[in-house]
Amino acid sequence: MVWIAVSYIWALSIFPGSMFDVSLVLATIFCLFNAVLFAQFASMMPRSGGDYVFNSRGMTPSLGFMFNFSMVVWNMFWTAYTCWILSTVTASSAFTIIGAATGSEYWTNLGAAAATPGTSFIIGAIVILFIGLITYLGIRPFFRVMKVAFALGMLGIFALMFVLATSSQAQFVKVFEGFVGAGGYQNAIKTATENGFTLGAGNWESTFLAISIAFQPLGFSIWSSYISGEIKDAKRFRINALAIVGSLVVMAVFLLIFWYLSVAVFGYDFMGAIGYLYYNVPASSPLSIPPGVQFFGSLLAQNLILNLIIAIGFIAWAFLYAPQSMLMVVRCMTAWTIDRLAPKKLGEVNPRYHTPTWSIILATILSLGFLAFFVFTTGWFSIYGFNAFLGGGTLTFIAVAISGIIFPYRKSTKQIFESSPANQRLAGIPWLTINGIVTLLFMGYVTYLYLMPWSGVATEASLGFMIGVYVLGLVLYLVARAYQKRKGVPVELIFKEIPPE
C-alpha cells in the first residue's frame, strides 16, 4: 500500500500522458497469471522456499539455486530499500506535515533531515535491526508485529481515503499554496512544462511503458509461497490461490480507488509536473521532500490527529513489507542448508526461539550493507535505480514460468502435476503451461522495460551488478557441491530422481 504514496507521481512524471489506471488494470490481469502459477506450484510442492523448490525440480538444481540466490540478494536489497523509503518519503513527509500543522520548527527540520543521507541511514538501520530482532524472536512475535502494523497501516489508508473523498481540487490548491506560496500550484505545472514536461493524458505508448511502474506494487503478491509451504490440505490450491490472487486483487482495487481520488483532488497534470520537477529539475521544485499522495493528503487533512493517523499508517506499511522480505531470505537460506548448499551454521536453530540465528544475523548485516550502499553512493541508486531489484525479480519469475511450461511434460515431473489439484486443463493444455507462457511473455516485457535507459538498470554498473549476482549464485552452487563432494558427502544424490517402476 505504501506504493500509493509514490507510484502515481512516478508514473506520470516518467511517462507523461500515461493512463495509469489502464496500466494498473493491464498489470493486474497479467500478474494474475503469475499469481496462479505460484499458487499451482505451491500446491504441487508444499515446501518453504518458493522458486528454489519449483525451479530445482522444474529445471535443474543449479538453475534453481542460481535464480533463488538472486531473489534472496534482491530481497535483502528490498528490505534496505523499504527502510530507506520509510525514512526519506514516509517519515520525512509525516514530520514536515506535523511541523506545518503545529507550527513547530523542530518537526519541520526533522522532516527535512529524514530525507538526508545521515539521518535516513540511522532511521533505516534502526528499523532493519528491529526487523532482525523480531525475526530472531520467533514466528509469534513476528506476526504480532505484522498484525499491529497491518491494523495501523489500514487505518492510515482509510483515513487518507476519507480525506481525499471529502476534499475538492480547489481546497487542495488552497492548502498547497498555503504551504509553498501563492500561485505555487499553477507555477509548478508551468515550470515543469518550460523544462520539457508534456501535459495531458491519453498517450498509449506511455500507458504501456507505465506498466513497469504498475507492476511494482502488484507483482509480488506471491510472497506467501516462500514461507508457508509445508502445511498440507486437500484444498491447498484454493487456499494458496486465495492468499496469492486475493492479495493481488485487493491491492489493485486500492490502487485504482486512490488513483481516481488523487486525479480528482490533486489534478492529473499537477501530479506529473510536481514529480517531474522534484526528480529532474530539483532546483525549480517547490518541495524539498519527495512528493507523494499521502503527503498531499496530509496537507489537506488540516487536522493533527488525522495527520498522525496517516503518518503512522504509512510508516507501519514498512513494518509489513520489510519483515516479509527478511523472513523470505531466512527461509530460503535454511532450505539451502538442508540441501547442503550453504554452511551448516546458517541452518542452526537457537533452542529458545527456534529460529536460525546465523541466517538472521547474515541477512541483517547484508541488509544494513545495502542500506549504506543506497544512502552513501550516488549515481547507482537514484530513485529508479532500485529497478535493478525488479529486473532481478522478473528474471526469477521468468525462470518459474519456464518451469511451469515444461513441468506437465517432463518425464520426472509429469506425475507430480497429474496427481495434484493443479491438474486443470483448457482444451487439453495444462493451465500450468498456459500460465507459464503468459507469465513468460509478460515478465519478458517488464524486463525489457527495466532494461530501457530510463530505469537505471541499463547503466553498465547496475547491469553488471545484476548479472554478477546470477554468476555468483551459480559459482556458489558449484563451489558448495565440490566442497561437499571432497568431504565425502554424496551431494549428487540430493536431487537424484527415482524412477517409479
Binding site: M44, M45, P46, R47, R57, I139, R140, F143, R144, M146, K147, F150, S224, I227, S228, E230, I231, K232, A234, K235, F237, R238, A243, I338, D339, R340, G347, V349, P351, H354, Q415, I416, E418, S419, S420, P421, Q484, K487, G488, V489, P490, V491, L493, I494, F495, K496, E497, I498, P499, P500, E501
Partner: protein, 327 residues
C-alpha cells in the same frame, strides 16, 4: 517384554543406509522406496513408519459404464474402463484408497464402525500387495530391506509384514549390523490429537523404549530408528491443532509448535546413540544434533509422489556423511 536381537551381515567397510518414512498409502512412493537401494547405491533401506493411507475415496457406479466421485475437491464424472483405471491410479498415487461401489451400496457404509472395517480391509489388502511387490522386486538382490510400521498403522498390518520373505519388520527389535552397529526400532509414538493406533502416553513410551534398548551393548555406534522425533528438536515442528482438529492460524499463518516425544528426547539425551532416524512430522524436514547424536527427519511429500529420504554413510562405527534426498 523380551526383545529379539537379530544379526545382519553386510560385510563392507562403508555401509550406505537409505532411510525414509510416512508414505501414507502412496503407491508411487512405496515403489520409489523399493528402487531407492539401486538408485542411491544403498546396502540397507529402512522404512521408518506410517504405511497407511488416510482416506477412502468411494467411486460410485452410476450407470452401465459410468462412474462418479469427488476427489481433490472436484467432482469427477467419468465413463469407460480406461478413464476409471486412470482415476484409480491418480487416487492411489496420492495415498488414498479408491473403493468402487454400486450406487445401491452407498448407504451400507453410513456407520462409523462400517467405515472403519472397510478402511482396515482396504489398508490390509494394499499392504499385502506391497509386501508381495517387495518380495518380487528384491528377490535377486542383496539389499536388506527393513519396513517398520508407525503410529498411524493399525497392528493388523504386523502379521502381513511378517509374511514377507525379503523384508524384515525391525519394530521392537535390535538388529546387529556386522557386529558394529546396533539398530533399535520403535513404531510407537506419544499421544496425538488424532488418537492413532500406536499412540501411547509418554510414560508408557519411555518404558517401551528402555525395554527396546536393553539388548544394545554399545550406544556409541547405535542407531535409534524411532518413528517419532525427539521433542523440541526442530524436527518436530507442526501446526497447533484446536479441539475440532483444525489448524490454529494467526495472520493467515499456522501457529507452529513442537509436538515430538519427550520420552524419545530423554532417551537420546541419556544414551547418546550415534544416529537417530525419525519421521512422523512431514513438515519438519531437517537434521539436528542432540549432544553427539545426529538426528534426521527427511519429512514427507507423499501426496505429491516425492520420496523424501536420508542417505547416511556409516564407516568405522561412525556416521561418515549424510544428505537429505528428494527422489
Amino acid at each position: 517384554m523380551s526383545i529379539d536381537k537379530i544379526h545382519m551381515k553386510i560385510g563392507k567397510k562403508r555401509i550406505r543406509v537409505f532411510y525414509t518414512s510416512d508414505v501414507h498409502g502412496s503407491e508411487v512412493c512405496f515403489r520409489e522406496f523399493l528402487s531407492a537401494g539401486k538408485v542411491y547405491g544403498a546396502d540397507i533401506i529402512i522404512f521408518g513408519g506410517d504405511l497407511s493411507g488416510k482416506l477412502i475415496i468411494p467411486i460410485v457406479k452410476v450407470g452401465a459404464d459410468h462412474y462418479n466421485t469427488t476427489f481433490q475437491g472436484r467432482n469427477w464424472d467419468i465413463s469407460g474402463s480406461q478413464e476409471l483405471d486412470n482415476l484409480i491410479k491418480k487416487i492411489r498415487f496420492t495415498g488414498l484408497y479408491p473403493f468402487l461401489m454400486e450406487s445401491s451400496d452407498v448407504g451400507k457404509f453410513d456407520s462409523q464402525a462400517e467405515k472403519d472395517r472397510l478402511f482396515v480391509r482396504l489398508l490390509t489388502e494394499s499392504i499385502d500387495e506391497w509386501v508381495k511387490l517387495a518380495d518380487e522386486r528384491l528377490k535377486d538382490s542383496d539389499l536388506k530391506c527393513l519396513i517398520m510400521p508407525g503410529n498411524d498403522d493399525p497392528t493388523e498390518i504386523d502379521p502381513i509384514l511378517a509374511k514377507g520373505t525379503r523384508i524384515l519388520n525391525p519394530d521392537r527389535k535390535v538388529i546387529d549390523i556386522d557386529g558394529t552397529y546396533e539398530l533399535a526400532s520403535c513404531s510407537y509414538g506419544n499421544l496425538t490429537p488424532w488418537q492413532c493406533p500406536r499412540d501411547i502416553d509418554e510414560a508408557e513410551l519411555a518404558d517401551k523404549i528402555e525395554s527396546i534398548c536393553s539388548p544394545v551393548t554399545s550406544f556409541e555406534s547405535a542407531i535409534f530408528n524411532f518413528h517419532v522425533p525427539p521433542y523440541d528438536s526442530g524436527l518436530d515442528t507442526a501446526p497447533k491443532i484446536a479441539g475440532d482438529l483444525k489448524v490454529i492460524a494467526e495472520m493467515g499463518q499456522p501457529v507452529m509448535i513442537p509436538v515430538g516425544s519427550r520420552a524419545i528426547r530423554e532417551s537420546i539425551e541419556t544414551h547418546q546413540p550415534m544416529l537417530g532416524l525419525h519421521g512422523h512430522i512431514h513438515e519438519s524436514r531437517g537434521t539436528t544434533t542432540i549432544g553427539r547424536t545426529l538426528c534426521v527427519n527427511p519429512g514427507s511429500e507423499y501426496g505429491e509422489g516425492i520420496l523424501h529420504g536420508a542417505v547416511v554413510d556409516l564407516e568405522g562405527g561412525k556416521v561418515k556423511s549424510h544428505v537429505l534426498t528428494s527422489g
